[in-house]
């Protein structure tokens, strides 16, 4: 059926250039590429550099700041020229601690998000594309992991295996992947019904190849948005866990710093403020960027039909 979609294609009757060989219909108006739309958004222009700044600081910062564990300095000094973020109760340079803490928080956030995306894509893709028994089985698996009480799991794991960054990452990934998988599965199911998947089958391509080459790439937009949101969530959950005392004591994340800052709320406001602000800004930035990404990937918003 002819649709008004094509009505926008009025430009089709004006062929580009004057080459005689061009067939009757010319090039239709193409959308602006996603990344251009994304980078053009004001929210992106503000928050992407902010996020990149945080990442940069946590990567190269350690080369420029002092030791986060050296306790020789006077304790509980407010921010000053010598100690821009003050010192903590043991006299450690707080700037150094926040910078190193950022390493942990950001590492956990991005790693967990990437792990969730990977597991989610594999599980969701297989379930959505193949359907049937594989789908039922994988959905059950996802449901199992979803209902696991992450907090208790973390506590138990910490008690049994000690609490280092790796354990935290693994636990978070284990409890958070099902939501990504659900999105992938829904998209995979939808896409598998489309003409080009059927055409690929008819052409002789095998299932895994179709999944990899046709289904998953087209399923990515909502997955990317969800993954960017996962970064924020993972950081928050990790901060929460750290706040409860489950975290690597030798390499405290921002959440762990917040935890330690509790006891000194009255005297040393800076101990809570700086890590807290960092968490807030990073999570905010990641959420806003994820939202912007969503807008950029969904061109129908604002498009006239």
């Amino acid at each position: 059926m002819t649709t008004t979609d094509e009505a926008i294609v009025i430009g089709a009757s004006q062929p580009t250039g004057t080459d005689p060989g061009a067939p009757t219909e010319g090039r239709v108006a193409s959308r602006r590429p996603t990344w251009k739309v994304f980078l053009g958004k004001p929210s992106t222009l503000i928050f992407l550099p902010l996020l990149l700044l945080f990442v940069l600081v946590s990567v190269i910062g350690p080369f420029f700041v002092g030791s986060p564990s050296a306790t020789g300095n006077p304790p509980l000094l407010p921010p000053s020229g010598q100690f821009p973020l003050g010192t903590d109760d043991l006299g450690r340079d707080y700037l150094a601690r926040v910078v190193y803490g950022g390493q942990i928080s950001l590492l956990v956030g991005f790693t967990v998000a990437l792990l969730c995306m990977t597991i989610g894509v594999v599980v969701g893709g297989l379930a959505g594309y193949y359907g049937g028994f594989m789908d039922t089985a994988l959905v059950k698996v996802a449901e199992f992991f979803q209902v696991l009480p992450g907090l208790i799991l973390a506590l138990v794991a910490a008690a049994l295996l000690g609490s280092n960054v790796l354990i935290i990452v693994v636990i978070l990934a284990i409890t958070m992947w099902p939501s990504c998988a659900r999105i992938v599965r829904a998209e995979a199911m939808r896409i598998s019904k489309l003409g080009y998947v059927e055409s690929a089958k008819a052409a002789g391509f095998g299932g895994i190849r179709i999944l990899w080459s046709d289904v998953i790439p087209n399923a990515m937009p909502p997955v990317l948005v969800a993954t960017s949101m996962t970064v924020g969530r993972a950081i928050l959950v990790e901060s929460g866990l750290a706040y409860l005392g489950i975290g690597d004591t030798n390499r405290p994340s921002w959440g762990a710093l917040l935890n330690s800052a509790q006891a000194y709320m009255q005297q040393a406001w800076w101990l809570a403020l700086f890590p807290g602000m960092c968490i807030f800004l990073v999570v905010l930035a990641v959420n806003i960027l994820g939202d912007g990404l969503n807008d950029a990937l969904n061109p129908t918003i604002g498009r006239v039909k």
Binding site: P23, E25, Y196, G204
Partner: protein, 261 residues
């Protein structure tokens, strides 16, 4: 080369204990290179299911589909791939049969590579260009890097045909390949398809609900209703002297313009 459906039946499990749904019942047909065979029917007639059984996209419940006497369900490995190359599909677009993220060169090139028609970037590209030219998209290199949304409906359909013929198939099964197109574009694509029977000797199984179009291009016609083939015959006979009441209804239904003075 002969592609045959022998008394094929397809039934689907009914919903939650309901009766099974019989989509196709006891249908037989023959298709050969160089011949244009049409299956005509309305929605629910089972024609698309029959097409998909010919393409082995849907397994038969009963009966067999045979290629040169071999049951396609039994084919394995190299033979199966050969079957897929010799029997190609052109399914209805609109905007659904091409991966929106793949450019034309990749969409056609990947099947060329899969069936090892050519290898190496330049050889594959040459094949792609050849196929595009055969469907009248010239100069072909203008279209190589376009995405589906940068093509019009008629152009997308031609790309689908190009992808099918790039492999030098014996038979193309086309399901509603032109139904969604405007009259002039439809005529253009049909012309391309009809010409290909002469230039490369390909045969068609053309599935459609549009009876008048069939009169133009088909050699042999099967009429389907409710899963059964109710009438079949050479085109002239069918149009001149339809036997089955349903065929007559279909013929009468199509709105037609009076011929020019």
């Amino acid at each position: 080369m002969l592609l045959e459906a022998l008394s094929v039946t397809k039934s689907f499990r009914g919903r939650r204990g309901g009766a099974p749904v019989v989509a196709v019942s006891n249908a037989s047909l023959r298709a050969e290179p160089g011949r244009f065979v049409a299956i005509v029917g309305e929605s629910g007639s089972g024609k698309s299911t029959l097409a998909r059984m010919l393409l082995d996209l849907v397994p038969v419940t009963d009966g067999t589909v045979e290629l040169d006497g071999h049951d396609i369900a039994q084919l394995r490995g190299g033979e199966r791939r050969a079957y897929r190359r010799r029997v190609q599909a052109v399914l209805q677009d609109p905007a659904g049969s091409l991966n929106p993220r793949k450019r034309v060169e990749q969409a056609i090139g990947e099947v060329v590579r899969l069936h090892r028609i050519a290898s190496g970037r330049s050889a594959v590209r040459a094949k792609v260009i050849e196929a595009l030219e055969l469907v009248g998209m010239e100069p072909a290199d203008r279209f190589l890097d376009r995405f589906p949304h940068e093509l019009s409906g008629g152009q997308r359909q031609r790309v689908l045909i190009a992808r099918a013929i790039a492999l030098g198939p014996d038979i193309i099964v086309a399901d509603e390949a032109v139904s969604a197109l405007d009259a002039s574009v439809k005529a253009g694509v049909l012309k391309v398809m009809a010409d290909l029977t002469e230039t490369i000797g390909v045969g068609y199984v053309f599935i459609t609900h549009d009876l008048p179009v069939v009169r133009k291009v088909a050699d042999y016609v099967y009429v389907m209703k409710s899963g059964e083939i109710v009438e079949e015959g050479p085109k002239h006979r069918l149009f001149a002297d339809p036997q089955h009441p349903y065929t007559r209804t279909l013929l009468a239904a199509a709105p037609e313009l009076a011929p020019a003075d």
